[in-house]
């Protein structure tokens, strides 16, 4: 199957090698940590929300497989500047795509690169783990 190679080739490897926003924030307003025991992926996520409730700054650190690192990297660029409801809507669309559910895909942009994972259910968690961590972080008031 060519889908897997393409997925790795087009996005994952670049983001795995040079992840965006791979940093710790000085004074984050929100923080959470996530873990995926299957691959031993670990992520630590920092967020700063501005006065209007937009995600002004985001940084992640951690280790794991290329899928999880690329997903973390791409999530940080995708949610930057978005409001919390916008970011959560993005996760809904992302999650629906990976689990083969019908629904809107219009907000996904580059994240559609992960579509090929939907036929590998064991690896879907690698891509969604950082998003679940985001949800956890945003629960804090």
């Amino acid at each position: 199957m060519a889908g897997m190679d393409e997925m790795y080739q087009t996005l994952i490897i670049e983001h795995d090698r040079s992840p965006r926003n791979f940093k710790r924030l000085e004074a984050p307003t929100h923080h959470a940590e996530g873990r995926n025991p299957l691959c031993g992926d670990e992520v630590s996520l920092d967020l700063t929300l501005d006065a209007e409730g937009r995600i002004a700054e985001v940084g992640f650190q951690g280790q794991g497989c290329a899928v999880s690192r690329a997903s973390s990297s791409m999530m940080t660029t995708a949610i930057k500047g978005k409001t919390v409801p916008e970011a959560l809507e993005l996760f809904d669309q992302f999650h629906a795509m990976l689990t083969g559910q019908p629904g809107e895909r219009d907000a996904l942009g580059k994240l559609v690169a992960f579509q090929g994972l939907s036929v590998y259910p064991m690896r879907v968690k690698c891509a969604t783990m950082v998003w679940h961590t985001l949800k956890e972080a945003l629960k804090q008031e």
Partner: protein, 399 residues
């Protein structure tokens, strides 16, 4: 030679991810030959009944087949006594039985069990649950047990030595006869985890000198959910039952119950009858095969595979023990084992990635996770070449 064995396994006519199946995960579970599938189906279709209860034809037949498998297993293990064979749920069920029934009653302050750094979690956690502390025989950089250290540790008085016959990660075949003779000199009983051994080479318990031997049927071409504990008669006789229920009793009243003698004392409840019948068929089949030829082919493919992997830049085998079954565990610079496994999977190549239930061993080698390819008697040269080709592709993607 592998081709003749392979032809007896219907699964190899199937594809995976639309590609010809390249199954390199026999260390996790072996595939099943047609004779085993047929035996289990014949029981369910033709004479399914519970055992030790009915006096009608099917129940008698099921009882005879179930209990008759003890003789098959006893013969398979080199001619031990059939009343030393206990059916369990698998290797894990067997080690837990020994932990709760043999070890636990002896546990006091300072009781410890000697394991090795290469043990599977199933030969670590049960001893902890029984209340014992653990110490471990170190593994050398070559992936072998440090026997000098083993001697010193045995002299320190462990309650039990629990050691694997074959490492599920390194492939190492441990010198069990040597270890049991060292242990005997210090009066230490020995449990051997045979899960990775029985599918690869003949095991003769009359020569090994162990006190307990455990294996899972599903790693021996038989169904999942069945396993064996062999224990020396005198040890088994002194062990109290650890699960109560039907099938394991002599008499039951509200005042007190007495228990069956022999292995049945440890087989409470309706067992996996079809699984045991499948195991009988699997062992009968293995006994008709030329296992010397199996082992020679396993060694040849391992040598070929090690050479092939060694030639791929960035690929590093965890260790290359001298005496080993067909197992290759490796890492690749820049590629996470799960990414390696997924890229191979998309080509129909099945390997395993992770810690393979051996976190202490991975800590010993300083890696969180590895990729593992493991062979069976149906593994061919083409399978090994497909792995090599697949890994070249992974290398290319991650370069």
């Amino acid at each position: 030679m592998s081709e003749a064995v392979r032809a007896q396994f219907p699964i190899f006519a199937r594809t995976s991810r639309g590609e010809p199946l390249v199954y390199l995960d026999s260390g996790a579970t072996t595939q099943k030959p047609q004779v085993v599938i047929d035996a289990e189906m014949a029981f369910y279709e033709g004479w399914n009944a519970n055992i030790h209860r009915g006096v009608y034809e099917f129940s008698e037949r099921a009882t005879l087949a179930y209990d008759g498998t003890r003789a098959t297993v006893a013969r398979f293990l080199g001619g031990v006594h059939e009343d030393e064979i206990v059916f369990t749920t698998g290797t894990t069920g067997s080690t837990n039985l020994v932990a709760q029934s043999f070890l636990r009653p002896k546990v006091g302050p300072g009781t410890w069990v000697l394991v090795t750094e290469m043990e599977h979690h199933a030969n670590i956690v049960p001893w902890q649950l029984a209340g014992a502390a653990l110490r471990a025989i170190p593994v050398t950089d070559e992936g072998e047990l440090d026997l000098e250290a083993a001697g010193k540790l045995l002299a320190d008085g462990p309650a039990l030595l629990a050691v694997t016959h074959v490492s599920n990660v390194l492939g190492t075949i441990n010198p069990i006869a040597q270890l049991t003779s060292m242990a005997r000199a210090h009066g230490v009983p020995v449990l051997v985890d045979g899960a990775q051994a029985v599918g690869h080479f003949p095991v003769d318990l009359t020569a090994l000198g162990a006190d307990f031997y455990c294996f899972s049927a599903h790693k021996l071409f038989a169904p999942t959910g069945v396993g064996v504990l062999w224990a020396r008669r005198e040890l088994l006789a002194a062990m109290p039952p650890y699960q109560g229920g039907g099938d394991m009793i002599d008499r039951v009243s509200f005042e007190r119950s007495t228990f069956a003698s022999g292995p049945q004392r440890f087989e409470a409840g309706t067992p996996n009858i079809a699984g045991v019948i499948g195991m009988d068929a699997a062992i009968q089949w293995v006994l008709t095969e030329d296992r010397a030829a199996w082992q020679a082919e396993d060694e040849r493919l391992l040598a070929m595979g090690r050479e092939m992997l060694g030639a791929i830049p960035g690929v590093k085998l965890l260790a290359t023990p001298t005496h080993s079954v067909g197992v290759m565990t490796f890492t690749m610079t820049g590629a996470h084992p799960h990414d390696i496994a997924s890229i191979l999977d998309s080509r129909g190549i099945c390997i395993r990635a992770g810690h393979h239930c051996t976190q202490p061993l991975h800590a010993r080698f300083g890696v969180p996770a590895t990729a593992r390819a493991s062979f069976g008697p149906y593994t061919t040269e083409a399978d090994v070449r497909a792995l090599g080709k697949g890994l070249e592709k992974v290398r290319e993607l991650f370069r």
